[in-house]
Amino acid sequence: MSVQLKAKMAKGLKMSDEAFITLLVVSAAVFIFLFASLLVPNFFQFQNVVNLVTNNWAVISLGVGVTFLLVSGNFDLSVGGIVALSGVLAVWFAQAPGGANALASGFGMPTWMAMLFALFGALAIGGLNALFVVRFKIPSIIVTLGTMLVARGIAQVITHGSQRNTNLPDNFGFLGNIYLFGTSIKLPVVLMLVLVCVAVVIEKRTIFGRLTFWIGANPVAARLSGIKNARHQTHLYLFSAAIAGMVGILLASEFKSGFSSRGMLMEFDALVIALLGGVAIAGGFGSVVGMFFGALILATVTSAATGLVLSPDWQYILKAIAVFLAIVAQTWALTLKNR
């Protein structure tokens, strides 16, 4: 009775570290947007906010898988490579055989089948990640760095280091170019929003989400508490690879091409937005909502820089500063709160 009462009182007075950090990230995103609006003419427009989200659907989608893995204490640097690989595979499988040259001929599968098999290719990379991280206990940062190169390497071989975009069935470009009810919002953007919502529910309301936190917070205690760490981490790597595979296929459909350099450095952007969003690199802490707003922060910074006609060469430095400040601010805020 008195315990319950106290619990209620405490809830009213204090918030959890996670809610606190998320609030901090959201405020930072709003603040940075307003600040950019002061500097950049015509920045303060609703359409601009919409653009910040829609232009970043790919990275945010990847960020979902990467966030879950980070929370479980693992890295996934292979997602950018998978984006390239799955796109290239989908195109190659769908291209009609007997084209004018090697880059113009493929397997002639129906579009749906080509896309499905491309997804299997992506899952294979995810399986490889899981195999080496979970079974052979090799640090995930090394494994996924390796598979990132493997995936992109295969894509390069298939495209001879360039791209495949001819001899494709017409319906190949369908999925990536559906617009919603006459707006400028494409299907992939909607899929991304659905994915984020589903991920939030999984994270907060399911055993699957909770397992992720337990494993990341203390793998030894998790095992001794009867959790099958290996199985869960395998699932996470497969999910992350599946998301990346779908992103790659949607991009290939949008541009009607398979390009071996597509998704270059996306793995780093996905990592950066997760960190900006308050996901702890040590595992056991973080949220998808935080990651989403982390993505908005990064998008605002880069697009404001473009608006200020800074040359694109400055982008990396800007990103670096943003990440650095964000992480310092979070650590500092948490110690302050818990002093």
Binding site: A10, T206, I207, F208, G209, W214, A221, L224, G226
Partner: protein, 502 residues
């Protein structure tokens, strides 16, 4: 001791506030030079918080500390050491990757021109270690030591630091009688060298055996400081601590016709040498032995946490090789070390409790927040976990309350066989009796319980049958009762029986 003792350390109006909690509340008292000064109080009374302020880990909200007549306001443990205060913290702080020797001198390495050199401190530390536990090899990697051995390592490090005040926060929580005896010899030697020792423990017999003075805390407040000679026995000390008396003693239970539920035969690991025993339904079996005798190894083998050879049958069937299988079969474990093996320290009490029984808080994979909350609230009330809310992160609980959360996790599993490895480690006397009552009630419901403990008092207090271990061997099994011969037990677990036999 001399009559006219000067003060080694005194605190004046010391207060520490956490958000929502006043952990230490306007405390003033003095510790005499060259004395062994004990601090006692319930879990969450503020003992560790006081220690952390003395050693610069935490800054007081208000109040002052005086050491050897000088104002002492360290900003970190290094500054506290420079001011003459060394500490053995309640939680382990060893570096697994380094060797024992390197750990011993960590933070006080002698260096010349930036290069490490061997120094006097190294030798003193290694010698102290050898005194307390000669079996630990200074060149061994710390990762290969057991939790208790790590604790001994930390004790040696603190004891040989050359500081004038040494604080020990529950140094013996994982140690058995023999190591405790040796530790006491070291502490007494320190006292003879005019070193002041501040000693925190929930084992009251130790306090009476070792201490010169005692300070009692309750709810963050200072209750009394006085010489132990003036305290009228254990019961009075308990009353000062918790405001009431507790009493517990073994009452024989009638379980003669129970059938065996667990059968262990020819269990062998790198440490265990052919151990066979059984546990009956509704029985409380105690495993007693020194540090390194194999208690934890038995628990972990049954639970599937370590590899072993031999046969373990539960309800007549082999259990699978992982903890997951063990839990599925109806076995739950309280592991030896709460922070590294039991708790998810950056999660809340609510998020910690249900992990071993996911079905009970979910339907088809979806969490039920209300059932989860109820579970946490139930155990906070049942085990008396001192916290402002179930939403408190477990790293912010006091040591004893963290232990209760680990126990809650295990109880929530609703297992038929509970393996409790040092279940009341760091838990205060009052809460201990409550936990014993919970254990007895479970046994009366027909659950079986194995208690692995270095505390003979605990074993004798609740176990129906006692299994004595020595260096990985099962030496003897005896029934508990009024006629148990404590001298004989101590003789067996220290290898006495062995030598007689030869």
């Amino acid at each position: 001791m001399t009559q006219q003792q000067s003060s080694a350390l005194s605190v004046e109006g010391l207060t520490k506030d956490y958000p929502g909690v006043r952990a230490v509340d306007n405390v003033s008292f003095t510790i005499k030079q060259g004395a062994i000064h004990c601090l006692v109080g319930e879990n969450g009374a503020g003992k560790s918080t006081l220690v952390k302020m003395l050693t610069g880990v935490l800054q007081p909200t208000s109040g002052s500390i005086t050491v050897a007549g000088r104002r002492h306001c360290p900003r970190n443990p290094q500054e506290a050491r420079d001011g003459g205060i060394a500490t053995l913290f309640q939680e382990l702080h060893v570096v697994d990757e380094l060797t024992v020797k390197e750990n011993l001198t960590l933070g006080m390495e002698a260096s010349r021109f930036g290069f490490l050199v061997n120094s006097k401190t190294d030798e003193v530390a290694i010698e102290t270690l050898a005194t307390i536990e000669p079996s630990i090899d200074p060149e061994a990697r710390v990762a290969s030591l057991s939790v208790a051995q790590k604790q001994i390592l930390e004790i040696s490090r603190a004891a040989s630091s050359g500081a004038s005040v040494i604080i020990m926060d529950e140094p013996t929580a994982a140690l058995s009688e023999r190591e405790v005896e040796r530790l006491f010899a070291v502490i007494r030697r320190l006292r003879d060298a005019n070193v002041t020792v501040v000693y925190i423990s929930h084992k009251l017999d130790e306090i009476f055996e070792l201490g010169d003075d005692v300070t009692v805390f309750r709810d963050g407040k200072h209750i009394v400081t006085k010489p132990l000679d003036e305290v009228d026995g254990r019961q009075q000390l308990i009353e000062l601590m918790i405001g009431r008396t507790v009493f517990q003693q073994y009452e024989p239970r009638d379980i003669a016709d129970a059938e065996p539920i667990l059968q262990v035969e020819h269990l062998k690991t790198s440490l265990l040498k052919d151990v066979s025993f059984h546990v009956n339904k509704g029985e409380v079996v105690g495993f007693y032995g020194l540090v390194g005798a194999g208690k934890t190894e038995i628990a972990r083998a049954i639970y599937g946490a370590d590899k072993f050879s031999g046969s373990v049958r539960f309800n007549g069937k082999e259990i699978g090789p992982t903890p997951h299988d063990a839990i599925a079969a109806g076995i739950a474990l309280v592991p030896e070390e709460r922070r590294t093996q039991g708790l998810f320290t950056n999660l809340t009490i609510r998020e910690n409790v249900p992990v071993m029984n996911l079905e009970k808080i979910s339907t088809t994979g979806m969490l039920s927040p209300s059932r989860e909350r109820q579970a946490a609230e139930h155990f906070v009330a049942q085990l008396g976990i001192a916290t402002s809310s179930i939403e408190k992160h477990t790293e912010k609980l006091s040591g004893g309350n963290q232990q209760k959360v680990v126990l809650a996790k295990c109880l929530f599993a609703e297992a038929d066989l509970l393996l409790l490895d040092e279940p009341t480690r760091g838990v205060d006397v009052g809460a201990k009796t409550e936990i014993y009552d919970v254990i007895k009630a479970l046994a009366n419901e027909g659950k079986s319980i194995c208690v692995f403990s270095t505390e003979l008092e605990e074993i004798l207090g609740i176990c129906d049958r006692i299994i004595l271990l020595y260096e990985g061997m099962l030496e003897e099994e005896l029934l508990n009762g009024e006629d148990v011969d404590i001298a004989h037990i101590l003789n067996v677990v220290t290898g006495g029986a062995e030598h007689k036999g030869q």
